[in-house]
């Protein structure tokens, strides 16, 4: 269980991005955070990733307060952020502790590459990868150590619709293998309804939780079904109206 208790974030320039946020991410569930640009979605993810420290409040992982990045939390960013000088295999192995023997790291990385469908591209350099392949490699790097918590910051937003649908399905399949606690930030309504057990809607300046929506549709979910469309409509009406990109 990942918990935020009264968390606020004020940046050094005085901008208050988030204020008195209370949120619990139950273990083994997919929570999707959605909201308009600038509502603090990415700040929330960076706080959980340990890349920013909260200005107030506490962040707890299984009851223990987090101070900085934790090995129990894997992160996938909006851009793949692969190291251009390492091939796919070594980029993926970067997610593993150096304390593991080299051979074991190699085997785990190979398996992670296989899991995301990059088994044939382990020797490729990032400059040789398409956008989808690069994001798959980033996903493999985050998954390779099998962390109990996985954070994803708009991981598919730079991909076209077909590729996005493919990767969403794969993310669900991968999540189903270990069932990590998963938090995904998006501004895409369909993505939220497709993936989430619960959608948390952020809004306002500074960002606060304006609404929460349980999604109980059985998986796999089909966007053309009326039930899906109804949930999408409910989510849309829950969103603050300022500059929605996904409507």
């Amino acid at each position: 269980m990942l918990e935020l208790l009264g968390v606020a974030k004020r940046y050094p320039n005085g901008h208050l991005a988030l204020d008195s946020l209370d949120l619990a991410l139950p273990a083994g569930r997919i929570t999707v955070v959605i909201g308009p640009s600038g509502c603090g979605k990415s700040t929330l993810l960076r706080l959980l990733a340990g890349l920013e420290a909260p200005s107030a409040g506490r962040i707890l992982l299984d009851g223990e307060e987090l101070h900085g990045p934790s090995p129990a939390i894997g992160v996938v960013f909006q851009e793949p952020r692969l190291f251009p000088w390492l091939d796919v295999l070594h980029n993926v192995a970067f997610g593993l502790s150096r304390r593991l023997p080299r051979r074991e790291r190699r085997e785990l990385a190979l398996r992670a590459c296989d899991r995301v469908g990059l088994g044939a591209a382990v020797a490729a350099l990032p400059k040789q990868l398409s956008g989808g392949m690069a994001q798959r490699a980033a996903l493999a790097r985050a998954l390779v150590a099998r962390p109990p918590v996985l954070l994803l910051d708009e991981p598919f937003s730079a991909l076209d619709a077909i590729l996005r649908a493919q990767l969403q399905a794969e993310l669900l399949r991968l999540w189903g293998e270990d069932r990590p606690t998963l938090l995904l930030v998006t501004h895409d309504l369909d993505e939220a309804v497709l993936l989430a057990d619960e959608v948390v809607v952020l809004g306002g300046h500074p960002g606060r939780i304006v609404s929460r929506l349980e999604i109980t549709l059985p998986r796999p979910r089909e966007p053309q079904r009326p039930a899906f469309q109804m949930l999408r409509a409910r989510l849309l009406s829950a969103l603050p109206s300022d500059n929605l990109q996904a409507a």
Partner: protein, 282 residues
């Protein structure tokens, strides 16, 4: 074209097809190398012709054949090898020393901001001193033999490497550093696994500049008093009024400088093959 490439990329996206590699059009290498020879060979022929026709004073500007004969004579007596060896040894030692020190200091100041604030102003002030100006002090401290020469070359090679590495590290993409933080890298791992590899292209540019300066400063060092080395040959040629020796030494400097640079580039090309930039196609 771009759309077709993207489609191809997508079709191989599951990784079961061939990896889409960006292949830049590659110029055939041998003709390119030969093209670079056209100008010097053409000039040499013209020069030879001018000397044969009496258009120039042979005593002041001996033709290439006379220079070749002079170098051949020096080679036969073993003198040329001695001079070459002395100069190469000084350049190698001074260059290694300068690059090593610059890499350590540049990595430290590039990575740790407080250290940069502490040291960088002093390093920049030292850089403002023309390196030749160190000569009297080095001679006073270390005598007139090898040490001051090697140190002078090291000072020359130091600054371009230091500047390039320090700037290179500070220019590393913040997003890559964040990935390192997510994976709990300590300061040394951060330097070794992210900052230095990312700054490697900048460092190599600095090293090339440093090598060029090492050749420049070996002449200065040998002109200030040496009994062997190519710089000594220059002085010797001047004293004995033998322009062929001077030109021969200049020619050797050109060849050695170019060859060492080419060797450096060729031996490090693989290290930066990962770059996805306009000039990285070959």
């Amino acid at each position: 074209m771009a759309a077709a490439l993207e489609r191809l990329a997508r079709s191989t996206d599951r990784g079961d097809g061939p990896v889409l590699a960006r292949s830049a059009p590659r110029a055939p290498r041998v003709p390119a190398a030969l093209l670079g020879l056209v100008l010097p060979v053409g000039l040499a022929l013209l020069w030879e012709l001018a000397a044969a026709r009496g258009w120039i004073t042979r005593r002041l500007l001996p033709p290439p054949t006379a220079i070749a004969v002079q170098l051949h004579e020096l080679a036969l007596t073993g003198e040329l090898a001695r001079h070459l060896e002395a100069t190469l040894r000084r350049v190698a030692l001074g260059f290694a020393l300068g690059v090593g020190a610059a890499t350590l200091l540049g990595a430290a100041t590039g990575t740790f901001e407080p250290l940069r604030r502490l040291l960088d102003p002093t390093v920049q002030a030292l850089r403002a001193i023309p390196s030749i100006a160190w000569v009297p002090l080095f001679v006073l401290w270390f005598g007139i033999f090898e040490t001051p020469k090697v140190l002078l070359i090291a000072v020359g090679a130091f600054f371009p490497v230091y500047l390039a590495l320090e700037a290179g590290i500070r220019g590393v993409d913040r997003k890559l550093v964040e990935v390192g933080r997510v994976y709990h890298l300590g300061p040394l791992s951060m330097i070794g696994r992210i900052l230095l590899p990312a700054a490697l292209p900048a460092w190599l540019t600095g090293v090339r500049g440093g090598l060029g300066l090492a050749w420049m400063f070996v002449i200065a060092a040998e002109l200030m008093g040496a009994s062997e080395g190519l710089g000594y040959l220059l002085v010797d040629g001047q004293m004995s009024g033998n322009a062929a020796i001077i030109l021969g030494a200049l020619l050797l400097f050109a060849v050695l400088g170019k060859a060492s640079d080419a060797l450096l580039v060729a031996s490090t090309r693989r290290l930066v093959a990962w770059q996805d930039s306009f000039g990285a196609g070959g």
